[in-house]
Symmetry: C2
Subunit: 245 residues, 2 copies
């Protein structure tokens, strides 16, 4: 951190307008304690397509995604790929690691992150015990969502998988327009390619494309230019996602 600026200046610049503030683990820290948090972390910018966590690299840091999105994936020797998750605003990354990271993380569009060395997290937990619970929550909810993904990959049909994906993406920070649960159109901006979606859902791009086609024909969605999808019946998609006949 350069001199000539006080810690308070950095807090102002980094946290005051951070849209991840209320979503991330930072919400376990009171405003007046932010300087301690900032002192233990650094901010990094990652251009589109660049990876900032490498599978197999020594796991020294945790990350909080503060803008943009990212994809997390694993590769097999012959190039088969499984995307294990998409990260968005406020997501905490790096828990799935022992000595080394278990996945690669790559920015989907430009992204910024706050980096916390493991040792810093330990110090912060000691000082702010609430942070421990917050991290435990983070790990638990990650475990829950991975278990749901196992059901998706092991037992759901292509339609159920894509419906699950769309319903999952229909969270506040992915929405372009439209309200919550209400039964009116809800437009999503999907920053990932069809290949990414396929590798997330354990399908091929052709099947993803055809399944989008079915949903269009059945009047469940409209698609504008591949990356903008409008859900016309969230309820019905949600039923399909859960295998409700």
């Amino acid at each position: 951190m350069e001199t000539g600026r006080t810690l308070m200046d950095v807090v102002k610049e980094r946290c005051e307008h951070c849209s991840g503030r209320s979503l991330s683990i930072c919400n376990a820290i009171d405003d007046e304690d932010l300087p301690a948090l900032v002192a233990e972390s650094s901010r990094i910018s990652v251009p589109s397509g660049r990876s900032f966590i490498e599978e197999g690299a020594p796991a020294h840091d945790f990350y909080v995604l503060t803008s943009g999105r990212a994809k997390l994936f694993n590769l097999m020797p012959d190039g088969r790929r499984q995307i294990v998750g998409f990260a968005e605003l406020g997501d905490f990354l790096g828990l799935a690691a022992s000595e080394t990271y278990a996945f690669t993380a790559e920015a989907l569009g430009d992204a910024t992150l706050c980096r916390f060395p493991h040792s810093s997290i330990d110090r912060l937990i000691e000082r702010f015990p609430r942070l421990r619970c917050r991290l435990q929550e983070e790990a638990s909810s990650e475990l829950v969502s991975l278990q749901a993904r196992l059901m998706l990959l092991g037992r759901k049909t292509a339609k159920e998988r894509l419906a699950s994906f769309l319903v999952e993406q229909a969270r506040p920070c992915c929405r372009v327009g439209g309200e919550a649960g209400a039964e009116r159109p809800l437009t999503l901006s999907l920053p990932m390619s069809r290949t990414d979606i396929a590798d997330y859902l354990g399908l091929t791009i052709e099947t993803v494309s055809r399944t989008f086609g079915h949903f269009k024909k059945e009047g469940l969605i409209t698609v504008k230019g591949a990356s903008s999808v409008t859900l016309l019946s969230f309820k019905e998609l949600s039923n399909i996602a859960n295998g409700v006949r």
Copy 2:
């Protein structure tokens, strides 16, 4: 806990000969501190086929499996099932939960467990800070293994899935005979049915059975009475599991 027995008596009975002692989170606690651990937990016995954690029930407790095995699974409304994991000696259960448990856990054969209410774990962590790291490790390794399972379900062939399963089961506590990595026969006792294996691997029982058949024909395994499998070439199975051609 009944009177007339000191805490030390219970420790002796419960922990001294507990084969999970060195594997479970209990290994973060020194022998002289075991009474505190025992005071915060209770021991339960679960007969074969009975469930002790129910998906959707309020999540009040964590469990450590101290004998036997268990299967953890999720159901869809129409009965499709995904087994999210098999638990064995020393495994810590209950992390995948928010307000309610995200899975059902059922004993595979008779099992015993130690139950720790969430509040007890909080108290124990406060008293034994090493326990926090131990639990974090537990969560991390669970996340890593779930991510590996995503690759299995999303991208691996039937042969790769079954080979992965066999290699995974070839851990010390599942072995009946045979040594570690060495290239000599290694016999496993599989307490789960073919249906369980199928629901774990995202396949049907017929495909599991046929794939066992392939491995037999190729001289990779021998099978005795469906629940005893001998791995003749761990190395080759491991290559298949990882998609190495």
